[in-house]
């Protein structure tokens, strides 16, 4: 019997995206450009994170009309963002036929205590995480994919690195623990015991894990891949740079050939100005996006 919306089918789409670049786009034209550059999927948005950061106000799910235009423009999967905990925005995106939903800290949270129960949806979800406990809590709610949060809209890779290292270090630590210490680890990480055991056995997260939040150059993208990411999200980094088409293509080349410094050197040449970038340490606490959700 055919079954839709199962864990295998939801996690499976994320597996097909591995080794790829998912690009934020705000128009059908940008979506086509991303597809032509070699993106494996696009994230349909009303504003890229750098603009959300600059303009302030409440950031919500994009206009369905905008999302439908982007879905009509490309054949690669289309993702879209909902506010943390806003399960009705998610119901709307599922009705539109969006391929993946990002329950994202980049938008203004709708619920400061509860994330969406992702089990009730046929469409897979990707969620942000800063450490292993947060990643496994989202998996406990049936997220089908994880991305490190980084600090979106800054063009500064330092937080993405911090979060990827935190997850990888925690997995290595788990692997060194004897069985009887797993329950204490589950308590310390505030994460489901069974998922702790599964992660230890696999030596990696049980789902695909992309890097996100501050990737602006081919070298940034390859850095995240060498640190263990399965692929990368690039948000503001492409369309806030001087030559988006060229930069998008170069980041795709860098992710495919992330262990080949010769290719990385060629991909990094003559790309024009990257996005300006922000020093995360100078951001006021209230402007940090990564602390949204838990």
């Amino acid at each position: 019997m055919a079954e839709t919306g199962t864990e295998v089918v939801k996690r499976g789409l994320a597996q097909m995206l591995k080794g790829g670049v998912i690009m934020d786009v705000t128009t059908a034209d940008q979506a086509k450009m991303a597809e032509e550059a070699g993106a494996v999927a696009v994230m349909a948005l009303e504003r890229v994170p750098a603009d959300i950061r600059a303009q302030g106000g409440v950031a919500r799910m994009a206009d369905p009309l905008r999302i439908k235009e982007i879905m009509a423009a490309v054949t690669i999967p289309v993702m879209a963002k909902v506010r943390i905990g806003h399960f009705v925005e998610a119901q709307i995106l599922e009705a539109l036929g969006v391929d993946f939903i990002d329950e994202s800290e980049v938008l203004t949270p709708a619920d400061e205590r509860h994330h969406i129960d992702k089990r009730t949806f046929h469409v897979p979800f990707v969620c942000g995480a800063r450490d292993l406990g947060e990643a496994l809590r989202r998996l406990g709610e049936a997220a089908a994919m994880i991305r490190t949060k980084g600090e979106a809209g800054t063009g500064n890779v330092v937080e993405a690195v911090r979060h990827m290292r935190a997850i990888m270090d925690a997995i290595r630590t788990l692997q060194s623990l004897p069985d009887e210490e797993l329950m204490a680890a589950a308590k310390e990480l505030s994460a489901p015991y069974d998922l702790i055991g599964e992660t230890r056995r696999l030596g990696r997260l049980p789902v695909v894990n992309f890097a996100a939040g501050g990737i602006a150059t081919p070298a940034d993208a390859a850095l995240m891949m060498q640190l263990g990411a399965d692929g990368v999200f690039v948000g503001s980094g492409i369309f806030k740079s001087e030559d988006p088409a060229k930069r998008a293509r170069a980041i795709v080349d860098a992710v495919t050939h992330y262990r080949d410094p010769g290719v990385l050197a060629r991909a990094s040449e003559g790309l024009g100005e990257p996005m300006r970038g922000l020093d995360v340490r100078k951001l006021p606490e209230g402007e940090l996006l990564q602390v949204r959700g838990w």
Partner: protein, 191 residues
């Protein structure tokens, strides 16, 4: 005997894990030089648009076409099956065109229509195989040299033409080893 897995993008690690479980030696293929070291090739699942474009960009499309024409065994799953086809509807990337089949991309619908199902393929496995169809294509036409090895819902989903094998689904996602074992037998026969 080394089986290459085209590693431009997609579920490369899943294929490598299944091949190793079947006792095969594997290598990742990202360049024409790496392809030269492979005796057979798997084109994994992924985004056919992306993989097709990158194959072209890195000179692999020409190299794979040439090796395919010389009889190198190739197994394509989902995106890989699309790329092996002669013709694809639904916004097609550049294809290898090695197999006499036509496909329609994303033919079951979008991701919410993706599914897992039991597949009957008596020449591959005596019992039904549980496999995943993820934004899968449909094979709409098969030419005379093409054998239909597996059917689902009245349509061919697993086809063979000499040393070329194409599946519109993913045996690797559920860790099914039977199809890879069958492919490895094809590789042995070709050697």
């Amino acid at each position: 005997m080394r089986v290459g897995v085209l590693a431009l993008q997609g579920d490369v690690a899943e294929h490598i894990a299944v091949l190793r479980a079947d006792g095969a030696q594997t290598l990742e293929v990202r360049t024409p030089e790496e392809l030269r070291a492979a005796d057979a090739l798997i084109i994994p699942g992924g985004e056919s648009t992306t993989i097709g474009m990158l194959m072209d960009r890195y000179g692999l499309a020409e190299a794979i076409r040439a090796r395919g024409a010389q009889g190198m065994p190739i197994f394509g799953t989902c995106a890989g099956a699309i790329l092996l086809a002669r013709r694809a509807g639904g916004g097609a990337p550049p294809l290898l065109g090695l197999m006499d089949i036509a496909v329609e991309r994303n033919a079951y619908g979008r991701q919410r229509e993706s599914f897992a199902a039991d597949l009957t393929a008596p020449q591959i496995s005596p019992t039904p195989l549980r496999v995943a169809f993820i934004r899968a294509p449909i094979i709409t036409e098969v030419g005379p040299p093409v054998q239909m090895l597996g059917m689902y819902d009245g349509r061919p989903v697993l086809v063979r033409q000499g040393p070329l094998l194409a599946a519109t689904f993913h045996p690797e996602v559920l860790g099914q080893t039977a199809l890879h074992r069958y492919f490895l037998q094809m590789v042995d026969q070709a050697a």
